[in-house]
Symmetry: C2
Subunit: 366 residues, 2 copies
C-alpha cells in the first residue's frame, strides 16, 4: 500500500540544506514561548517517585481528562488523550469507517495534507467539496456530496491552509448533514485558540451522536513536539476508539501529559491573548507587504497561514524550491493542499522574521 | 469491529478498588529507579529554547536514532523511533500485512495479550503454535504451521508470559522460516536487558530482509510511561512504515526521547546489572515460596514473570478476583494468554513485596 507522505518534511529539509539564509515559513511550529508552568511541570517531574515514570492510564492522566472535560462541558468518559491531534484524527476517522456505513470520507478542497493520507491508510476513499475563494464551505455543497457511502465529513476550523473560520451556521449544518446520512462529523479544532475573527464555533456546541471533536495543545501551548492532544467522542463510540488507542500506542507520554496539566491549571487568558495579538500583527505586516508586491492573498480569520498567489508563479514544488534558493523564503506549495490552490503558495506566520520574508518576496516579485 | 481489550487494565482496576491491602503483581511496570541521567534530561529540557518544544523529526531525534543504530549495528535509516514497543509492534505487523502475501499472523500459545488484538484490528487472522511446558518454541512446529497465507510470525524472547529465552538456533530457524514463506518475522525483544540465562539472541544477529526487530526503553530504563521504543526494519520495508508512523502519530514525544538519549549515553552497565540481579533474587524468593506452597511453576530465564499453577484453582478472571479479595495478591489470569495456560496464573515480579506475596499465597493455598 502506498500512502502519500506529506510534503512538509521534504520542503523543510530542502530549506535547511539551502546554501543561503532562508526564512522558514513552512511548518506550523509556534516560535513563541510555551507557558512557564509547562516548564515547571517538567522540572517537577524530574524529581517524582519512580512509579510516576510508569504507564499512565491508557486514556490519559485522569486529572488531565477531568480538566479537559470540565472546560469543554462534556463527560470525562468521552475524552481520550491522544498523541497529538494527529492520533486524535486517526482514531476519529478509523472509528467512522469501522461503523461500516460506507467507505467515503468527505474532505474539503483545499485540504490539510494529512487527511487524504490517513483516509487511504484506513482503506477509505476521498471525495472533495470545494471551498470558496475565502476558504468558506457552503453546507449545501456538502449536502449535495453526501450519500449513503459517506462514513465521515472532516472539517477544520480555523482552517489550515485557508485561514477560514466557519460561522456557527456552517458547523450546525455539518452536524445536521452527518446526522441525516448516519455519518460522523470529525471536527478538527486544533487552531481554536487562534481565532482572530471572534466567531469560532466548536462542534461541541451542537450535541449529537454523530460528531467527534479533535484537538491538541500543540498549537495553543506552543508544544507541537510534546504530542498531547485529545478527542471527544459520543458515548457510544468511545469504547472502540479507546481499544484502538490502546492497541496502537498503549498510552501517551506521561511527563508531557503532566506538564500540560500544570500549564492548563496555571496559565491565565493573557498568555493566549498575547499570542493571538502577535499573530494578528504578523498577518497585518505580511499582507501589507503582499499588497506592495502586487500579490493576491486571503486574509486569515484564524490559524497560522496566509495563502498568496503571484502572477505567473504557480504553487508547484519546483517553484517553492526556486523561491528558497532565489528569494530566501520557504513556503508550502499550494498543490499540497488540493487541486483548487495549485496556483497558490502557503506561508506560515510562525517566525519573528515575517517582515523580512515579506520584503524578500516583494523585491523578488516586483 | 470489536477488538479484545487486554485484561490488564480491568484487573489493575479491580485490585485498586479492593477493600484490603493487595500486592500488585499484575502489570509489567518496573518498581526500581530510572537512571539519574534520565531525570537530568527532563531537568535540562525545562530550560531549553522554545524551538526544542516543537516537532522532532517524524522518525525520531536524529541523535537517538544514531545511538540506537550504533548499538544495534544497523544503518540509522532502518531505525524508526516509536511510541513504545506497542507502536513498534503495530507498525511491524501492519507492514507485514501490507505486503499482501497473506492475512495470517502466526502467534505462540501462550501469547502476549496485545498481539491477537492488534491482528484483528489490522484485518489479519490469528493462528497459534503451542510452546512447550517451559515456554520453548519448536521451530519445526512453526514450519509446519506456516504457509503461503502467513504474513508474519510474531516471536517474543525473553518471553512474556512464560519467561522463556529462545536459544540462538530457534531465532535462526524463525528467520529462515520467514524467508522460506516470504513472510516477516517480527521479533519483539523488549525484555532483552532482563535475560537471566545468558543465552539471549537478537534476531538482528541474522541479516535478512524478512525480519523486523521491535524494542523499547520502557523496561530497560524503567520508564513504561515515557513511551519511547523503536523498530529496526529491512531497508526496503522502512519507508512505508515511516509513512504509517507519520500518518498515525506524526512523531513521538520529544522531551521523552531526549531524556532517553541522555540516559543511554550516561548510564553504565552497572545500572542494568543491578536490576537484573534484583530480579534474579526475586525469582528465587518467589519460586522458593511456591515450592513451599506445593505449586507448580516455571522458573523464568528472563523477563519479569512467573507462571504458577495451584491445584484445583484454574487461572480464570473469577479466580484472580477471588485471590485479590481473599489472599491480597493480584496476578493475571492465565486464560488471558491463550488456551494452553487456562489453569495457570501469571505473577509479575516488579514489586518489592515479592516475599510477602509469596507468603500470602503459601498460606492461602496450604
Amino acid at each position: 500500500m502506498e500512502y502519500e507522505t506529506p510534503l512538509f518534511f521534504h520542503v523543510m529539509e530542502y530549506a535547511a540544506q539551502a546554501d543561503r539564509d532562508v526564512v522558514d515559513m513552512v511548518s506550523g511550529n509556534p516560535d513563541w514561548e510555551p507557558p512557564e508552568a509547562l516548564r515547571d511541570g517538567l522540572r517537577e517531574y524530574a524529581d517524582f517517585d519512580p512509579d510516576r515514570f510508569q504507564y499512565p492510564p491508557s486514556a490519559g492522566l485522569r486529572e488531565l481528562r477531568e480538566e479537559i472535560a470540565a472546560r469543554r462541558g462534556v463527560d470525562v468518559e468521552q475524552v481520550v488523550i491522544t498523541n497529538g491531534a494527529g492520533e486524535a484524527n486517526y482514531l476519529a476517522m478509523a472509528r467512522a469507517l469501522e461503523r461500516d456505513r460506507g467507505r467515503e470520507i468527505l474532505l474539503t478542497d483545499p485540504v490539510y495534507s494529512y487527511y487524504p493520507g490517513k483516509t487511504t491508510m484506513l482503506g477509505g476513499t476521498q471525495s472533495y467539496v470545494a471551498a470558496d475563494e475565502e476558504g468558506q464551505l457552503d453546507p449545501a455543497d456538502v449536502r449535495a456530496a453526501a450519500s449513503e457511502e459517506t462514513a465521515a465529513i472532516v472539517a477544520n476550523s480555523p482552517n489550515n491552509p485557508t485561514g477560514a473560520v466557519y460561522p456557527e451556521e456552517t458547523i450546525r449544518e455539518l452536524v445536521a448533514i452527518a446526522e441525516e446520512y448516519d455519518a460522523i462529523l470529525v471536527s478538527d479544532e486544533v487552531y481554536d485558540h487562534y481565532d482572530l475573527s471572534g466567531r469560532f464555533t466548536s462542534a461541541l456546541r451542537f450535541d449529537s451522536d454523530h460528531r467527534i471533536v479533535t484537538n491538541a495543545f500543540s498549537k495553543s501551548l506552543a508544544i507541537t513536539g510534546f504530542r498531547v492532544g485529545y478527542a471527544v467522542f459520543p458515548p457510544h463510540l468511545v469504547e472502540n476508539a479507546r481499544s484502538r488507542h490502546m492497541l496502537v500506542n498503549v498510552a501517551g507520554s506521561r511527563p508531557a501529559q503532566y506538564a500540560v496539566l500544570r500549564a492548563l491549571r496555571e496559565t491565565g487568558p493573557d498568555y493566549y491573548e498575547r499570542n493571538r495579538a502577535l499573530l494578528a500583527d504578523r498577518v497585518e505586516t505580511f499582507t501589507d507587504a503582499l499588497d506592495a508586491a502586487g500579490a493576491e492573498y486571503t486574509t486569515p480569520q484564524g490559524a497560522f497561514y496566509v495563502m498568496a498567489r503571484f502572477d505567473g508563479y504557480p504553487g508547484t514544488l519546483e517553484n517553492v524550491e526556486k523561491l528558497v534558493d532565489e528569494a530566501g523564503v520557504a513556503g508550502m506549495p499550494g498543490e499540497a493542499f488540493g487541486d483548487s490552490r495549485r496556483d497558490w503558495l502557503r506561508f506560515a506566520l510562525v517566525t519573528p522574521r515575517v517582515e523580512e520574508a515579506a520584503d524578500r518576496l516583494a523585491s523578488y516579485f516586483e
